[in-house]
């Protein structure tokens, strides 16, 4: 069974390379086009098999062996459910030193693998109609980037994690600069350089981690062994030793997740790239950083996380929720609205993740998957809308597209509400858990984050109203598009699958939570500790008007008697 | 240390210093070459001083070697300088800065124009003729004009 794991990386890698070669040779038959879909479907199938295998083998909830006497956040041991760790997969920098590499999957990894495969499949399906030129090479590069992304999500050691992290960028450079707006070359360059500049602190931090947790056999890069050592060395860990590692990782991974203020690459990149490329970017690439936090930063630097994560990074997340929503409100380009909306939702994930509570972390992990599905669908639909309207301006839709393209309109409205956090759909579950998680730590941040609910609904509904329905102020743009029909059947079918996933996770979230929570790096023993009193009373007293406090409140509380009524 | 050795070494060091400062601060290729020779001489003196100090002949041997090499190098170097001069008609080392960064300007000293014409040099009577009998006149373009008697 574990042989399946490298196939998940090799199939898109080899397939993508073959497609690129076929594109170069200008093979004119329909074979490469069909092959692209087949390859994407094959990776999807493999990832589904992985999910089934991981679910069937059950989740061993990770435990912490020692060091529980220290209160606060305790990282858990990373223990993959299914592992691929052959002895030949290692490298020897010098004689006497051997670093073993490993691939593996647990609940979180399998979920992200599934997300990547699903999104890639959807991208290729939609690219069939929206990429006019060089479809085959586009599909090839998409598959290559999928290979890089799967490497990250399947990696169980630091070296493969870093390799995948960087390898995913190269195909993206080609994808962004090859298809999109006129300024795409500069934007692609900026995106890659910005992200790469975050890799320097990250690689230093990774090296620091390797030497922070030495084992008896010499340094190791395996996440299992590192987290095992981390839990053993819990009693002797020092904050100073971990702080610089955490800071460097925060910068490196923070650029990837568009943590304020390192986010400015996001709007321009999402706007200038082709919408199907942006779909991959927003749905999967944005989650690489969060995955890094969950796998590496939080469990392996627990003291620094406890000290700094919820205060600094959590605050940045809460600000991002409001900031992204406000900025989205001001935009008229649909791609920019969705880009800032992604920023806002990434803020929700940050809010949950950096609360370091069980609900928050699990909610963030689940929300990574949820947001991926929702945003992928939104960007694909946005691409269809742009093709049909001829422009990306939401004010140019004339009388609204709901009449002409009913399938498009229904799906768009569905995913708009999914993104706005409507209960019964998936984003609500993740957001609720994230907010609850932060409520136990910093209630003020939760209040700030909850305002993202109204702002999120505002810009989403404004976009929906302008695009789908008729408004008074509309400019009629002369449409020079060739597509005048509604969504194709294959596209509708793909998005229906996404919608079903949204509904399923929204109405029955418990199976998804059980699946994903094994990958969440929190020790279960800390969750049963009684919550400490927070500053809510101080806040409450500060804001209470004085005259109300004086009215006979205390008299009432003695009046009620409780009856046992069952 | 022996005061004599010390003084010789000091002299050698002084000459070396003069030589290196001269090399680093000059623009004229031949003068830079001169400084290099000075440095070599100073090094030779150094060897001799140590040879005298340790009472063996290796110092003197090496000094002779240095002299030999210095003269070979001088021959080749001056030949190169002459050919460089033929290309650019200037002895300024800054004229040969093609490997500089392209946004800098070369700091070449422009050769000064000679305003006075080269004087005409006296022409000697050819051997075997009496100047009083057969005087030689020089025409305007410098050609010899032998008057027939």
């Amino acid at each position: 069974m574990s042989g399946m794991i490298p196939m998940l990386i090799l199939v898109p890698l080899i397939g993508g390379t073959w497609l690129l070669v076929a594109a170069r040779q200008n093979v004119h038959s329909a074979l490469p086009r069909q092959a692209a879909i087949v390859l994407a479907a094959l990776s999807l199938l493999l990832s589904l098999m992985l999910v089934v295998v991981v679910a069937a083998q059950g989740n061993s909830v990770p435990s912490v062996t020692q060091g529980l006497e220290k209160p606060g956040f305790t990282g858990a041991v990373v223990s993959p459910t299914i592992k691929f760790q052959p002895t030949w997969l290692s490298f020897q920098p010098d004689s006497g030193l051997r670093l073993q590499l490993a691939l593996g999957a647990d609940g979180l990894g399998a979920a992200m693998v599934l997300l990547t495969a699903l999104v890639t499949f959807a991208v290729i399906v939609f690219a069939l109609s929206s990429i006019e030129q060089h479809f085959v090479s586009y599909a090839g590069w998409i598959l290559l980037s999928q290979a890089g992304l799967q490497t990250v999500f399947l990696s169980m050691d630091l070296v493969l994690f870093y390799i995948g992290f960087e390898l995913a960028l190269l195909p993206l450079l080609v994808l962004i600069s090859g298809w999109g707006d006129d300024d795409r070359r500069q934007v692609a360059q900026r995106f890659v350089l910005y992200t790469l500049s975050g890799s320097i602190p990250m690689v230093l931090a990774l090296i620091g981690i390797v030497y922070l947790y030495p084992t008896a056999h010499g340094p190791t890069v395996l996440l299992e062994e590192l987290s095992q050592r981390a839990s053993e060395m819990r009693a002797t860990a020092t904050l100073a030793g971990e702080t610089w590692i955490f800071a460097l990782l925060a910068i490196g991974l923070g650029i990837k997740v568009a943590l304020l203020p390192l986010h400015t690459w996001l709007p321009t990149t999402y706007r200038s790239a082709h919408p199907t490329t942006t779909c991959l970017l927003a749905a999967v690439v944005l989650k690489l950083g969060f995955f890094g936090f969950l796998r590496i930063a939080l469990p392996l630097t627990p003291l620094a996380s406890e000290a700094y994560a919820s205060s600094i990074l959590g605050t940045l997340g809460a600000i991002a929720i409001v900031y992204g929503a406000l900025a989205a409100l001001a935009q008229t380009d649909i791609r920019l609205i969705l880009a800032y909306s992604s920023l806002s939702h990434a803020g929700f994930i940050s809010l949950g993740m950096f609360s370091l509570s069980e609900e928050g972390l699990t909610g963030a992990a689940l929300q990574m998957f949820n947001h991926g599905i929702t945003t992928a669908a939104m960007f694909l639909l946005a691409g269809c809308i742009i093709t049909r309207l001829g422009s990306a301006d939401i004010k140019s839709s004339g009388n609204g597209i709901a009449d002409n393209y009913p399938r498009l309109a229904v799906l768009f409205l569905f995913f708009t509400f999914a993104g706005a956090g409507l209960p019964g759909l998936n984003n609500f579950v993740g957001e609720l858990m994230a907010l609850s998680g932060m409520m136990t730590r910093h209630p003020i941040l939760t209040v700030v984050g909850t305002s993202g609910i109204i702002l999120g609904a505002w810009y989403a509904l404004l976009m929906a109203r302008n695009l789908l329905f008729a408004t008074e102020t509309q400019t009629k743009v002369a449409r020079k598009v060739s597509v005048s029909s509604d969504l194709a059947t294959r596209e509708t079918a793909t998005l229906t699958v996404f919608a079903t996933l949204c509904l399923a996770i929204g109405c029955f979230p418990q199976p998804a939570i059980d699946f994903i929570k094994a990958g969440v790096p929190i020790s279960r023993s800390t969750s049963s500790v009684a919550r400490t009193d927070t500053s809510i009373n101080v806040v409450g007293r500060a804001l209470l008007p004085v005259n109300f406090a004086a009215t006979g409140k205390s008299a009432r509380s003695t009046n009620s008697t409780q009856q046992d009524l069952r | 240390m022996n005061p004599a050795t010390f003084q010789t070494l000091m002299l050698a060091a002084t000459l070396f210093a003069i030589g290196i400062v001269g090399f680093l601060s000059r623009k004229n290729m031949i003068l830079m070459f001169l400084s290099v020779e000075l440095m070599l001489a100073a090094v030779a003196m150094n060897f001799i001083a140590f040879g005298a100090h340790y009472q063996n002949y290796q110092g003197q041997l090496f000094a002779v070697l240095i002299l030999t090499i210095a003269s070979c190098e001088a021959a080749i170097g001056l030949a190169l300088v002459v050919s460089l001069f033929k290309r650019k008609a200037t002895l300024d080392i800054a004229a040969w800065s093609d490997l500089r960064e392209t946004d800098r300007e070369a700091n070449v000293e422009v050769p000064v124009e000679q305003n006075e014409p080269i004087e005409s040099y006296p022409v000697l009577t050819p051997a075997g003729t009496d100047p009083l009998v057969n005087p030689v006149r020089v025409s305007k373009d410098g050609a010899l004009d032998t008057l027939k008697a």
């Binding site: 001001a330 939760t446 009373n537 | -």
Partner: protein
Amino acid sequence: MLNLVWLIPLVLMLALLAGVLICLFRKGAELAHVPTIVGLSISSAVSLILLFTSQGGVHVAITEGYTWLSLGGMHVPITARLDGIGLIQLNVVTCISLLVAVYARGYMLGDPGYARFFAIISAFVFAMVMLVLVGNLFVLYAFWEGVGLCSYLLIGHWYRRPSAAKAAMKAFLVNRLADCAFLVGILLLWHGIGLVGAENLATVGRLDFDVIFDAVPALAQRQPDLLWWVGLLLLIGAIGKSAQFPFHVWLPDAMEGPTPVSALIHATTMVTAGVYLLARMSPLLLLTPDVLLIAGWLGAITAVLGGLIALFQDDLKRVLAYSTVSQLGLLFLAFGAGVNGELLPLAVVAAMFHLITHAFFKALLFLTAGNVMHAMGDCIDMRKFGGLRKVLPSTHILFLIGALALVGAPPLAGFWSKEGILGLLTLEIGNPQYGSVFAIWLFMGLLSTLLTAIYTFRAYLRTFWGDVKLPAQAGAHPHEATAMMLAPLYILAVGSALIGLVIASTGALAEFVLPIPFLTDPHAHPHAGWWLVIASVGLVMAGATIAYYSISTSGVAAKRSGVPARFAELTSNRFYLDEVFYFCLVAPTQHLSKMVGIFDSQFIDRVIRRGATIPSAIGGRLRTYQTGVLPNYALTMALGIVALVALAFLRG
């Protein structure tokens, strides 16, 4: 018997699925009403069965569903919890929905979105029923939002109209604004229960109502400020959904939706969800009397405000909308009486009573207005028609019954329920602590009674009396509604007429609802004094007279007679509250968002770009060392050698 409970939402979910399938496959759209009406009939029947077989009051029936979410500190099961309050609300919802759905079969006939309409009606009733049924506050919030979504979809049913799409968005967003506060309140409560209930791990993380009410006394003792905030935030959530001041601005605009939608959602079911929430959470609010005080004030203000604005509206549905706002204000006013803890159970009973009667007569009024609108060719502006009692005789009688019930003419339903509320207020006038407040509230309640009478009779007279005037859109012969549309109206009329009498005389409601779990049973069930009855009847007659004179003296067209023009303009422009809302909330946010957008693209980006030029700046400086001139390189070499030699010397 208990498992019948799940039949109600199940049947509605099946109706919804059937509706969705009809919409997807575009087959059988003419029959789209069938699943909805069948589902609603079954659910009404089941709720009536449950009503009549339950003992009510003390008996709380809990039925397990499935665990929606369970993780560490958070446990959210879906269970059904039925007590007296819940059963009553359930019955109101299902029965009125059935009647409105039957009416809508005739009203929406021929509409291109027929199938979609009924599918979303099924969805709405499903969400509303679940809202009433569930026993967990998180799940209640989920269906609270679901109801808001269905309201959005139904208000915007005719999405080709820009005003409808705008109104739908406004309704959803104003609701969401209140829901933000609601969610924060819920999370605070969850956190608070976690703080005080840590000893009993079984209760940690659950927001089941019984768990909440068990924990609130401890919370009141140890974290009173938190409890106050929770109460206030829950109240804000209720206000948003029930369209009280200042969140009332969405309800009049929601009249853009089809009339059955206005009748169902915006008069009887969704807007009562706020009142239902307060009734549900009354054991918690018992311990935060300040919040109930605020509720009372907001209710009183809204009651008067709604009445004032309704005076000069020209659109019949708008009059009814503001009337709804005003009547809901009365419901909140009833809760205000719960400031005195002993009165809270009675307040809940009075509120539920008025909720029932209001559901009947308001639905009746809206549906008859729908008849008028249908006959007048979708025109509902009262300036354009008149004298319709000859044209639509049955509608006329039905509207009259509804109007009399609304103003509180004895012995129709509205009289009994309104007296219940106002009578509650009279009980505590002597109280030194709240007496003056209650007196003011009583005055405002009576004022709203007067205003109700005035605007109701004005609307009635303008529509049905006077000379027959028909708008051009009405066509040649405006006809009375079909029998299918009139049948539910007759049922509603009978209800409006008799239900108050039945309930008040037998005291059945109080017996059924009380004792409310976790609240102390009041020992006395007081009745309103006679002077109050005489006062209200007198006000009704005064209002009718004023209305008659205001119409008849200067004719129907000129309606501003005798009233200062400024005041009339103020009220007909809704006190400019919409504009206030816009300028205080909407416009600043839009400006702020523009500033954020500019800040993001200009400032932060500039800083990053400046940062990106650092490497090339450093490179530029370093480049100056490449002169190409030999002596410079020689200098570097010399310095290097000196450094190495010095290093070798120092290292020894």
